[in-house]
């Protein structure tokens, strides 16, 4: 009981401070900050219509590299944590009941559409809302749909890890080309093209497509790892 009271006091203090601080920060007001520079430069120099993409991939591209790495490490850590050494003759067990016919037919129709949508989202990341992360997540949802509909659908880990590796290497290499040319890491070295055309933004397109593939592969890997372990575990195991 005392613990509950303490918790409420703690939450009260934090809440009071939060309200107090944010009552001094007006909502909806224009502030003087670096955002203006980004808005200006993303049109003038980078020729990127979606300036959020411009920030994510170019101005603060290093963050994105780190972010992709976080996801990569999460996928890796997840499979390390969930790892179980396979016993002799043990097969991967999934639920035996097949899913309903409606789901199967529906999945067949929806799957390609969702994949195309995802690809569209990350290819047009510099023109419309969206980009590598969103597109990759959408594609991962599509593979999730296949995983839960078809019990026999298997994610080919080899392919996934190839896609993941190559996409990651493309991202870093594109950055390194800048270094090799005597410019900064991740600096744009391509022609930026016309604003609001598909081939604009220089390296932004390449990086976002790579990020899209990588995120899709990583998230698919995460879901597959968790799903594969979806079985009762009554074995003694010491490894």
């Amino acid at each position: 009981m005392i613990k509950k009271v303490l918790i409420f006091i703690f939450i009260g203090i934090i809440g009071f401070y939060l309200v107090d601080i944010f009552s001094q920060i007006p909502f909806g007001e224009k502030r003087d900050n670096v955002g203006d520079f980004y808005l200006e430069q993303s049109v003038q120099t980078l020729k990127v219509a979606n300036s959020v993409t411009g920030i994510v991939v170019n101005f603060r591209g290093f963050d994105t590299l780190g972010e992709v790495t976080v996801l990569f490490l999460a996928a890796l850590g997840l499979s390390s944590i969930m790892y179980r050494r396979k016993k002799q003759g043990e097969k991967e067990v999934r639920a035996k009941k097949p899913s309903s016919r409606i789901l199967q037919v529906g999945a067949q129709i929806i799957f390609p559409m969702v994949v195309v949508l995802g690809a569209y989202v990350f290819i047009h990341g510099h023109l419309t809302p969206g980009g590598g992360f969103q597109g990759g997540a959408i594609i991962a949802t599509a593979s999730l749909l296949m995983l839960i509909t078809y019990r026999k659908f298997k994610v080919n880990h080899n392919t996934v890890s190839w896609i993941e590796s190559i996409a990651g290497v493309v991202f870093v290499s594109v950055g390194m080309v800048g270094l090799l040319k005597g410019m900064a890491f991740l600096e744009n070295f391509l022609d930026v093209g016309e604003l609001n055309s598909l081939l604009s933004g220089g390296i932004i397109g390449i990086i976002y497509v790579a990020v899209g593939f990588k995120v899709a592969a990583e998230l698919t890997g995460v879901i597959d790892t968790v799903l594969l372990n979806n079985r009762p575990d009554n074995n003694n195991e010491n490894n």
Binding site: N50, V52, T53, V121, P129, G130, G131, F133, Q134, A137, I138, A140, T141, L144, L219, V222, I223, V226, L227, N229, N230, P232, D233, N234, N235, N236, E237, N238
Partner: protein, 97 residues
Amino acid sequence: MTWLIIPIIILVILTIGSAIYAVVTKNLLYAVVSTGLISLGLSLFFFILQAPDVALTEAAIGVALTTIIFIITIRNTTQYEDEPKKEKNMKGELSND
């Protein structure tokens, strides 16, 4: 933004309501679905705040993927919050993993 005031208020109620429900309910599956609803609410909030990129990300990652991973976890573990500890497993042996 004036005409948005009523949808915004509905959204506020929806989001905070599902947050409270997610914390209060004993059934973890309901809690997870409410968490998905919070993400949906947040995604609409982001849209209203003129952040379509964030809205899309929150919709794809928060609503879909997080919820799915939570549900898989629940299927692997337990559905009720106060479920007592199962001492022995089906084979009658203590699992020591």
